[in-house]
Symmetry: C4
Subunit: 196 residues, 4 copies
């Protein structure tokens, strides 16, 4: 019961965050293809953030699937994660508004990093409550992606902040998203069993 | 459980998309009937998109009703569908803002076409996971409407892009919506049985 | 299952409609009490529409509580109800923006009337599917409030449209809201039994 | 069933309220760190209100966990609570827009006070329906935090309204939030039993 409501609330918040970003795509007044052109940074960054939020929803969903108990601490760890995700429409908008200027990429990366840390805290608290023999522990395994992501975010933050290469920073964000998009057969096997 | 959350998240996103479109209906400052007149393209296109999103919710609902298992791929196919639907407030707004100018009708059609393709991919993945003897397979049958819709969208895209007839293009969008609105007794029979 | 999702979707849409109205309360730039004064029509009409949407949620909730089967027609009748309710933020905003000018009260009344008709259609379809011995039939009884409301809305529409008395029209909207707010012990008894 | 829908609706409204506040964080046009600086009052007040809404969601969740029956009165008491919470984005926005000017802190406190009163009414109605031997009664205990909060809000309202010290008023809001944030092992024990 408790778990259901945690999921329902998180679903609600994630659904709203993902949809609110569309409001940054302001309707242009002209009727030519060229009038749509200035929207490309908004569209590109919308796609990227949509995928990131989709990844978080997906992972959150899989993680919660394995959860049996909830504690007050887990409720707040989840709220903490939603907080950083709720800032994504803002960081995305700043990035789009300024055509991926270095510092806007830095802030975007910081937000992603904070969300990754918040996710890690949530996962750790759930693991602690469920023990090392839990389904989640097995599903995560060595958690390579979970460990690689923050390292990659930090690289992108450094690259963009010191204005070394904004393209490399942007490329890292795209790479991390793709890395998570590729289905992880191993996890699915543990969760869905032999049904797939 | 997994299925429930997929439905809950999709419901949330669809509910927000459908309601966000109302924000395009800007409150006029005058207090006469004539002050409401300039809103007619916004109102007409709101009604049309509301019906389209209602159709998607309805069909999504019916399809999920027959689903037994979910895979990671299905989660992403669903997210992909939600992506194209999330752009409907934008394409609707552009169409309304420019009084159904040809190119705005083209873009609206492209969005509907992409959503239809995304829906088809989702349906195909579910069918693949459930087999040809599944309830969904029986409910869909030859899927005439599902096959006719993309063809009609492409016609409307061509008609509007080459500026042949924007009325015809608009008429096709209305026609497809009405085609889906008319209840499909056949599908309901398979799903609800003899209760109706 | 089907019923649950209908409820979840309606809850989502109603929750968003009710919350979107707050966006009309624009933050004033001054810091004195007098800077808040111009907001009073927005606040008053927000309270009124909040109560109306609360009433619809409450009644919808009670009605669905008694429902056993859902048909495709009921799904669309529900969507039709949500459509008229989704326009409430717009009609409320127009009314507030123009300090309850006669015609804005007329439009507000028309929207309420259309929602009441949509609710009546939905209720009739549910009754038809469940029979005259159903729990809903007993709960509704002679449905005095349901019959009185449209008559009162029409009175308010006439009074405001012909500019007879906008105060009387506004008063009727307040009266109808209060009429529904007063708890209906009779219905609760049928639904909750002796628990209350 | 009834309870589930009350929770779902409340979750929806709270999720939207919490996310709508992000829209006050307007994307700045410059690309320097100094362009972000003017956003600090918006960010600080967003964090504070996010925590307050998180607390309400958490407490609401815990309270509902113990509830067995729902009455029509409880539905409206819940709606009343949601009403005052729905004004938080507005009162937060006014506070941020005017850099925590005294009167904006007063209004923020009044809103928090009204929400606390609404929560108390809801809790009292639930207790009345469930009796003094109920799980909720045991979980609440002497309800020290619940009694201290309104007193603290009133202090902050007085301090800010009479322009005695806006810092003290702001400090009180932060203190109350922290007081609720610290996990209450006692309540968790009653609710989750020995699992934690």
């Amino acid at each position: 019961m408790t778990k259901n409501r945690l999921e329902a609330f998180s679903d609600g918040v994630l659904a709203i965050i993902i949809t609110i970003m569309v409001l940054e795509l302001k309707v242009p007044h002209g009727t030519e293809i060229k009038d749509l052109a200035p929207l490309y940074p908004y569209f590109v960054s919308y796609v990227l953030s949509f995928i990131y939020l989709g990844i978080y929803w997906n992972n959150h969903h899989h993680m919660m699937h394995t959860v049996k108990h909830i504690s007050g601490g887990i409720l707040w760890a989840n709220m903490h994660l939603l907080f950083w995700l709720s800032l994504i429409p803002f960081t995305t908008g700043w990035m789009a508004e300024n055509h991926f200027a270095p510092l806007t990429l830095t802030l975007y990366g910081i937000d992603l990093l904070m969300a990754a840390i918040a996710y890690f805290i949530l996962q750790t608290m759930i693991l602690k409550l469920h023990g090392s023999e839990s389904m989640l522990k097995k599903a995560i395994g060595n958690d390579l992606k979970g460990k690689a992501s923050p390292v990659l975010y930090v690289s992108a933050i450094v690259l963009s902040y010191f204005d070394i290469s904004q393209w490399a920073a942007g490329g890292i964000y795209v790479f991390v998203a793709l890395m998570w998009l590729i289905p992880d057969k191993r996890i699915e096997k543990v969760i869905y069993g032999n049904k797939i």
